[in-house]
């Protein structure tokens, strides 16, 4: 076990835990943002530099500070390590710089982007970015690549986090190891992804994409995400766990995604049949409203059972009270 101090909070974690995961065990606003790191994907992380933190003391044995900021998602903790994230201004300054770098070539087409509302880059920029840009040049564009009827690739929105490359490699196993073609700011997601679109698990690249570069074609332009209601559901699927979230508008299932945890990481990969083909309520066993606890506009719309004050219930009309008795709220607060 290693004892570390993160932003003044002490926590003991098993050896080999990364700084990021130690911070996630503490939870709350001190957790560094992650744009490329994805726990279920081996080898991910270290690329976006959004999670850089200051290591003020390397370990109990060698308490010297690390000379550069380190990527918290891939740096393992040492016993006695002291890490500064939100308490260090230089870290926050660098993070501002990272937002700026990620945005200079991003098209900022959020108004027409299906990811808007559940976009990691939006959240990241909202929390750490500036409202203006110093970039005056033309933004980068790419030749459009059609990767099939199910997945839409918008290369202009891509921040090259490599998550889909690892997904293609590890979940939707293909034969090739090419994921990114070209280099520098001309690098783009290439042939490899094109080749896996007939794989049963290829749809998962949509879920791992932090931005709107890979989106669900069957859900394209149908609705804004905050107008839909997420509902947990499952079905007996021979290929995957069958545990999904259905996104309803009225009685219509607009799309299906995997379930994600509070850091936007998929809990169980789902197959393409569940994702793209089962769009009827009758295909599914409904479990109840999905809890979205990420900082996004979706959770702002309270599509979960209300937390009701007991004293308020007494004041409600009789018909509402009867309704509540029939369908009791999950949580009763004071």
């Amino acid at each position: 076990m290693a004892k570390i101090t993160f932003d003044g909070i002490e926590i003991e974690v098993p050896d080999g835990t990364t700084i990021m995961n130690a911070a996630r065990q503490i939870g709350g606003s001190i957790v560094p943002p992650a744009m490329c790191y994805y726990t279920p994907l081996k080898g991910s992380g270290g690329k976006c530099r959004a999670c850089l933190v200051k290591v003020a003391a390397g370990s109990a044995k060698d308490p010297r500070p690390m000379p550069k900021l380190v990527a918290s998602c891939i740096t393992p903790v040492q016993d006695g390590m002291v890490v500064e994230n939100t308490t260090n201004d230089s870290v926050l300054d660098v993070r501002k710089g990272i937002v700026e770098m990620l945005l200079i070539n991003h098209p900022l087409d959020c108004p027409v982007c299906d990811q808007a509302g559940e976009c990691d880059l939006q959240n990241f920029a909202f929390e750490h970015g500036l409202s203006t840009t110093r970039y005056e040049e033309e933004r980068r564009t790419f030749e459009k690549i059609d990767i099939g009827p199910l997945i839409q690739l918008h290369m202009t929105r891509c921040i090259l986090c490599y998550r889909c490359v690892y997904t293609a490699d590890q979940i939707a196993q293909g034969d090739r190891v090419h994921g990114v073609l070209g280099r520098g700011d001309a690098a783009e997601i290439g042939t490899y992804i094109e080749n896996i679109i007939d794989n049963d698990f290829s749809g998962n690249v949509i879920d791992v994409c932090p931005v709107g570069a890979l989106t669900d074609k069957t859900w394209r332009f149908k609705s804004r995400v905050w107008f839909t209601k997420p509902v947990d559901a499952h079905r007996d699927c021979p290929k995957c766990s069958g545990n999904v979230v259905l996104w309803y508008k009225g009685n219509e299932v607009l799309r299906t995604t995997a379930r994600k945890d509070q850091y936007g990481e998929v809990k169980e990969w789902i197959c393409n049949e569940c994702r793209f083909e089962k769009k009827e309520t009758s295909d599914w066993t409904i479990e109840g409203p999905a809890h979205i606890d990420r900082s996004s506009v979706i959770s702002a719309n309270h599509y979960e059972l209300p937390v009701l004050n007991q004293s308020v219930i007494a004041d409600l009309p009789a018909s509402t009270q009867r309704e509540l008795e029939k369908n009791p709220p999950l949580k009763l607060g004071n």
Binding site: G45, G46, K47, C48, R49, A50, L52, K68, L69, A71, I74, V94, G97, I98, E100, M101, L102, I104, N105, R134, Y135, E136, E137, R140, I159, L160, Y162, V177, H178, V180, G182, R183, G184, D185, A186, A187
Partner: protein, 446 residues
């Protein structure tokens, strides 16, 4: 005239063949090491020599060797980094094409010291003709019994391979090199783990520059202490400098570390002064990625002492008034040179060569280039100059590998020392963008 340890016989007819090289004392270090020394003794000699990595970072080679993890039953590798692609640096190419056996000799002795039974020379893709020279030399070494099984009857086996890269600058970064050598896309790895623990094929690996390895035979032959007598302080031995730019005698010079920069530029023995009788304006002392210095600061340190060609003296004053020895790519610029154009040219290179893996470098290098492009073409504004500094600062230190710094340093240094010239491009765009325009000096903008 300083001693020449590596290039003493470089102009001998046929030195690239095994027989001639052997006649001039070649492969003595292999015999000496394999027959009379233990591997640890060889490492100890290299440590004593104070040899510092000649690829750019200047890390002590002996220390690097002693860091190599040596778990039981796991192969170890020595990899020679011959992916020399830094603008202004062309010493390794010459060394390999003229003295291929010197490198091979160093590889054998080095591999023996590290206990490696397979070693690689990773050579830059553009240097195919050098690759052929090396392969021919390796075949000769195999035939003479210096490579292969049971070398010289000592029981030590070594296989040596040359592997060409695809011509990417980034593959000169050691972990990107290893990725490329494994057959993958040349993206630098996150560190730790360092190559000394998990390098090639996740095995302990040492990656050394061509010149560092070529110095090993000399050290083994003459002894580490003898080698350490040459040079000044912690900068021991001799170093190859590839001098280019506006010099009367550009070329590759082997110098004893500690030579004054002024002597190197102006002495007839070396570069012979600035061409066409012009005045020196600036020098990039160690390859395009190190900070540029104006004439006053390259000849004398800020404290007024003579600047010497050593790791310490060149970096005296940090990045405020100093630079780095780097890889020895010495670029001199005369008074007619446009620093702004030159900076743009460097920035364009790093933009082209960024691997695109981490965001500050991928986006930042392109941004720097675009802003400089604007300035050079007379469309810049005053705030663009501060923007350059700010973007460079956002890249520096926040990237996976040192390419980010390599891109940021020259830009930041150019603005630091030649800000008035950048301003001239903004205030006098028409004059500045004329072909052959020469910045008239500080007086005009004042």
């Amino acid at each position: 005239m300083g001693r020449k340890l590596l290039t003493e016989h470089i102009n001998v007819e046929g030195i690239e063949t095994f027989d001639v090289y052997r006649k001039h004392g070649g492969y003595r270090s292999v015999e000496k090491a394999l027959k009379t020394m233990t591997p640890d003794e060889v490492v100890e000699e290299v440590k004593k020599s104070g040899l510092r990595g000649r690829g750019g970072a200047g890390f002590p080679t002996g220390l690097k060797w002693s860091f190599l993890a040596k778990p039981e039953g796991v192969p170890r590798y020595l990899v020679c980094n011959a992916d020399e692609s830094e603008p202004g640096t062309f010493k390794d190419r010459q060394l390999m094409s003229k003295l291929p056996h010197l490198l091979i000799e160093g590889m054998i002795t080095g591999s023996y010291a590290l206990g490696a039974n397979t070693s690689y020379i990773y050579i830059r893709g553009e240097l195919l003709y050098v690759l052929r020279i090396l392969e021919k030399a390796i075949a000769e070494a195999y035939a003479a019994g210096f490579l292969g099984k049971n070398i010289l009857g000592s029981g030590y086996d070594l296989d040596l391979f040359v592997h060409p890269g695809g011509g990417a600058y980034i593959c000169g970064e050691e972990t990107a090199l290893l990725e490329s050598l494994e057959g993958k896309r040349g993206n630098p790895r996150n560190k730790p783990p360092f190559p000394a623990v998990q390098g090639l094929y996740a095995r302990p690996t040492v990656v050394n520059n061509v010149e560092s390895i070529a110095a090993v035979p000399v050290i083994v032959n003459e002894g580490g202490d003898e080698y350490a007598k040459i040079g000044v302080g912690k900068s021991t031995g001799t170093k190859l400098f590839s001098a280019c730019g506006h010099l009367n005698k550009p070329g590759i010079y082997e110098i004893e570390l500690g030579l004054p920069v002024e002597e190197f530029i102006y002495s007839d023995e070396y570069c012979g002064g600035i061409w066409k009788g012009r005045d020196l304006k600036a020098v990039v002392a160690g390859g395009s990625s190190v900070p540029i210095l104006p004439k006053e600061l390259i000849l004398k340190t800020a404290a007024g002492e003579d600047r010497l060609m050593t790791y310490e003296s060149l970096s005296d004053g940090g990045f405020v008034t100093g630079t780095m020895l780097g890889s020895g790519g010495f670029i001199a610029m005369d008074e007619t040179t446009s620093i702004v154009r030159n900076t743009w040219s460097f920035a364009r290179f790093y933009h082209h060569e960024s691997c695109g893996q981490c965001s500050p470098c991928r986006e930042g290098t392109g941004w720097l280039e675009k802003v400089l492009h604007r300035l050079v073409h007379g469309h810049g504004q005053m705030h663009d100059i501060d923007l350059l500094v700010s973007v460079a600062k956002q890249i520096e230190g926040n990237t996976i590998c040192p390419l980010g710094e390599a891109a940021a340093w020259p830009v930041a240094a150019a603005v630091r020392h030649f800000r008035d010239e950048f301003e001239w491009y903004v205030t006098h765009p028409q004059e500045a963008t004329k072909p052959g325009a020469v910045y008239p000096g500080k007086l005009v903008t004042a």
